[in-house]
Amino acid sequence: MPVTYAGDCAMLEGQCVVEEAAELTEWLLADRARGIDLAACTGLHSALLQTIMALTPPLRAAPVDALLARWLAPVMPPVQPAPSPRPKRAPAAKAATTSPRNRRTRKATAS
């Protein structure tokens, strides 16, 4: 499944399909501090997009995928890196690769 729930962060990876939306919604509603990580997401179904827009969970990482990054940035919740080191993933390494690209694409749409 393209969505993995690890601790307080849901990681959306690859092509995320409509079927994930119900579970993600429930999971996010159970604890509003839970966040999402879109770094490895390459496709987001509208249902998931609106879940993120409606519930505005903290964004641990914005999508790296150029298309998603470019067009979804304006509607994404603000990026809030995890308060504590997240399990299973090395946040520093990820952040190092993703953030410059994020900044660049974000700038392109904002200008």
Binding site: V17, L24, T25, L29, G43, Q50, T51, W71, L72, A108
Partner: protein, 774 residues
């Protein structure tokens, strides 16, 4: 032909697929035509009787079917229009809306538009430019009625709004200009997906991100986000506003399956921004593979299992799950034997957890959907023969070919009697001659049966012709403010297709005449003491070998004096002769060429428009037209045509060694009389036959041949235009079936003959047009 198909074509199958596609398009055109006609008829019924639930249902079903079939082709405008019409009809079906004249006009106009598009699709394979705008106008008109608003202003508003950039775009003007710095204009699109669109398998975001030339995008909630607890992730609440640098039709094409949800406006980019961001490549839609479908299918089964009404009925769900496992080559978590709801739920959950992740190669293989003929495992269904009445659609050309072949067979067959005669006379073999005659009888019988069978194929009910008239009558009556009830009788009467088709125009003429000149305005009828609503009858019935079509109105009838006066004025005959004519004869003057002119239409209180044209057409097909009228009470026009026209039976007639044919249906009897029995009155001749004086005409004289005085005169007694006439000929021949070929080219206007036929022995037979020469 833009069939909506993205199957990867196997090279060997491309030709076959192209043929299938053409078949499909042809089938669609024909079916749509039929549905449109049915819809038209239902609409007219409905207008007469607004409470007719069956008519509403029929209308709805027709429009719905057109929509369903059109979806197979790339016809967004057509679908958009019928979709809006369907919504309107849906409201009528639910009793929320009632039909009125204006609404009927709007729907009829929409159906007409669809009909022209269908014809365009048939000939060009696409719809004309601007069709989507036109569809929108109709849709707006229909929606307006649905909203209880005034249609006309709504359309005007919609059009006005369409020209100006929407408010959201004006607000974002500088951002859009910055996103499209070197473009003169951009296409602005506002896309509001349906709330339930996810259930239809749509993913609006994916569609939006794949928009060609997308350069600016704003995603907003359609309505404010509800409370987090009330949020439903499956109810789409997104709205997309975008600007794209691509031709408008490209954007239109991109959103062609959701035309209802997208507003497109082309707008100038006035101000150009300084720093230009790079273009978006706008190419992001990743194909969704089959496992998604498998997941969807499994999820659906889980959902179905949960539906309260479905508990206890799980056999189909079990079959689906087992089949799905077999298709994907997954071990089925279900044990053998019937499963219950719980074990199914467990199995589905298990499959969703474990089996859902397939490697992409396998996904692609399954998604490619090229199934093989799989050997059926246990429980293979029994072989069963499906039988039933089936309909075969055949191009008319093929039937015509068959008809021509039958004709040739008939002609070839007719050579046998000549052969028999030769056998006897030239070769002296009476026995062989008899043998040939016997065989001839057999072949003759088979040929006749074959001919009848082919004729049967060509027969069609006059209803195919009549069904267009309710609309015509309604439109004309409405325009002239007359009240008319059209009564159609004998619709199931059949006749040859060519005859039916040929009758369309004359019949239209006659009906128009009745409406224009025969039927009075309602007020005049009341004053005259007649029923306010006029009755126009259109009847068909079979009379022997003929089909008779009558148009009867109860209008003001024809005033014979006015006809006389008009005929004299037109110089068709002199006043003295006109005065001698009986009233009934005078009325027939309307059939004379030159009687009716445009001017005559307006002031003549009867009919006359193109009656000469009507007669010409009817007679060309071997028919006749008569008119009967009672001033003040109405007029009847009767057209009588042969049921079929392919084979004509003639009596051959010999004249100076040359054969001529006389249509058998005119021949009353053949007599041989002594020359002195023919009496001469001044310039004309006559014979008294069974106490009746029959005028005599000599064919030799008519054909400008030298006179011939045999010991006994052969006389054909013919009935032409309800009068008997005797035609003196050299000798009678035999009865014969011929395929009459009308003259073509420079001979078309050769008078006196209706055509030629080739005989079995190769000679050419000229068929006389006696109505013309006598």
């Amino acid at each position: 032909m833009p069939l909506r198909s993205n199957l990867p074509p196997t090279p060997a199958e491309i030709a076959a697929q192209a043929a299938e596609t053409a078949d499909l398009a042809a089938s669609f055109v024909e079916e749509a035509r039929a549905l449109l006609e049915e819809a038209n008829a239902a609409l007219l019924t409905l207008e007469r009787n607004p409470g007719d639930a069956e008519a509403v249902n029929a209308l709805f079903r027709c429009v719905h079917s057109i929509k369903g079939a059109a979806g197979l082709f790339d016809l967004p405008a057509l679908i958009h229009l019928v979709h809006a019409a369907e919504d309107l009809l849906g409201a009528m079906r639910e009793g929320r809306l009632r039909i009125d004249g204006e609404l009927a006009d709007a729907l009829l106009a929409g159906l007409d538009r669809v009909a022209t598009w269908i014809e365009r699709f048939r000939s060009e394979g696409d719809l004309p430019a601007g069709s989507i705008e036109e569809a929108r106008k109709f849709a707006a008109l229909y929606r307006a009625r649905l909203d209880g608003l005034d249609g006309a202003t709504q359309v005007a508003e919609a059009t006005a709004r369409a020209d100006a950039p929407p408010a959201w775009a004006q607000g974002a003007a500088s951002a859009i200009a910055a996103a499209a710095p070197d473009a003169a204009s951009v296409v602005l699109a506002d896309y509001a997906p349906d709330e339930g669109c996810f259930f239809a398998g749509e993913d609006p975001l994916r569609l939006v991100l794949a928009t060609p030339g997308l350069c600016w995008l704003e995603i907003v909630p359609a309505q404010d986000w509800p409370d987090a607890q009330a949020f439903d992730p499956f109810a789409c609440n997104l709205r997309f506003r975008m600007a794209a640098r691509a031709p408008r039709d490209a954007i239109e094409h991109h959103f062609r399956y959701v035309p209802d949800n997208v507003m497109l406006i082309e707008a100038d980019v006035e101000s150009l921004a300084a720093d230009a961001p790079k273009d978006g490549d706008g190419d992001g839609g990743a194909p969704v593979g089959l496992p998604t479908l498998a997941i969807e299918l499994l999820e659906t089964q889980a959902r179905a299992l949960d539906l309260p009404g479905r508990h206890g009925q799980v056999g189909d769900i079990e079959t689906t799950v087992r089949n799905l496992c077999r298709a994907l080559d997954l071990p089925c978590p279900l044990v053998d034997g019937p499963a219950d709801a719980d074990s199914l739920a467990t199995a589905i959950a298990h499959l969703l957890r474990s089996g859902a992740r397939k490697d992409p190669a396998e996904e692609a293989a399954v998604a490619g959907a090229a199934p093989m003929i799989a050997p059926m495992g246990d429980g293979a269904p029994d072989r069963a023969e499906a039988t039933g009445e089936r309909t075969l659609r055949v191009e008319q050309g093929k039937v015509d070919t068959l008809m021509n072949l039958v004709g040739e067979l008939t002609v070839a067959k007719n050579a046998l009697p000549f052969l028999a005669r030769d056998a006897e006379v030239r070769f002296g073999s009476r026995e062989l001659s008899r043998e040939i005659k016997d065989k001839y009888a057999v072949i003759d019988r088979i040929a006749r049966q074959l001919q009848n069978a082919v004729m049967d194929i060509r027969m069609m009910p006059v209803s195919d012709l009549f069904k267009r008239f309710p609309r015509l009558v309604r439109d004309i009556a409405r325009k002239q403010d007359k009240k008319v009830r059209l009564v159609i009788e004998g619709e199931t009467t059949e006749a040859d297709k060519n005859i039916i088709e040929a009758l369309a125009e004359p019949l239209t003429h006659v009906l128009r005449n009745s409406l224009d000149h025969g039927i009075e305005p309602a007020q005049a009828r009341i004053t005259a003491g007649k029923a306010e609503i006029a009755t126009l009858r259109l009847c068909a019935f079979q009379d022997g070998d003929s089909v008779v079509i009558e148009v009867i109105d109860d209008g003001r009838g024809i005033d014979p004096d006015k006809v006389r006066a008009k005929a004299v004025e037109r110089g068709l005959l002199d006043a003295e002769r006109a005065a001698q004519l009986s009233d009934a004869q005078a009325m027939q003057l309307v059939f004379l060429p030159g009687f009716s002119t445009a001017e005559a239409i307006s002031d003549l209180s009867g009919r006359g428009v193109g009656m000469d044209a009507v007669r010409t057409v009817v007679e060309r097909f071997g028919g006749q037209v008569t008119l009967d009228s009672r001033p003040g009470h109405g007029t009847t026009v009767q057209m009588k045509l042969p049921l079929s026209m392919a084979v004509t039976r003639v009596l051959t007639v010999e004249m100076a060694g040359q054969l001529y044919g006389v249509p058998m249906d005119l021949v009353v009897e053949t007599v041989r009389i002594e020359p002195q029995a023919i009496r001469r009155f001044k310039a004309s001749e006559a014979v008294v036959l069974r106490d009746q004086v029959v005028p005599i005409a000599r064919l030799r004289t008519m054909l400008a041949m030298e006179e011939h005085r045999p010991a006994l005169e052969s006389v054909l007694i013919l009935r032409v235009a309800n009068a008997l006439i005797g035609l003196v000929i050299d000798d009678f021949g035999t009865g014969m079936d011929i395929i009459l070929k009308p003259f073509s080219g420079i001979l078309t206007n050769l008078s006196g003959f209706s055509g030629t036929a080739v005989l079995g022995d190769g000679r050419v037979l000229l068929v006389l047009n006696l109505k013309e020469i006598l």
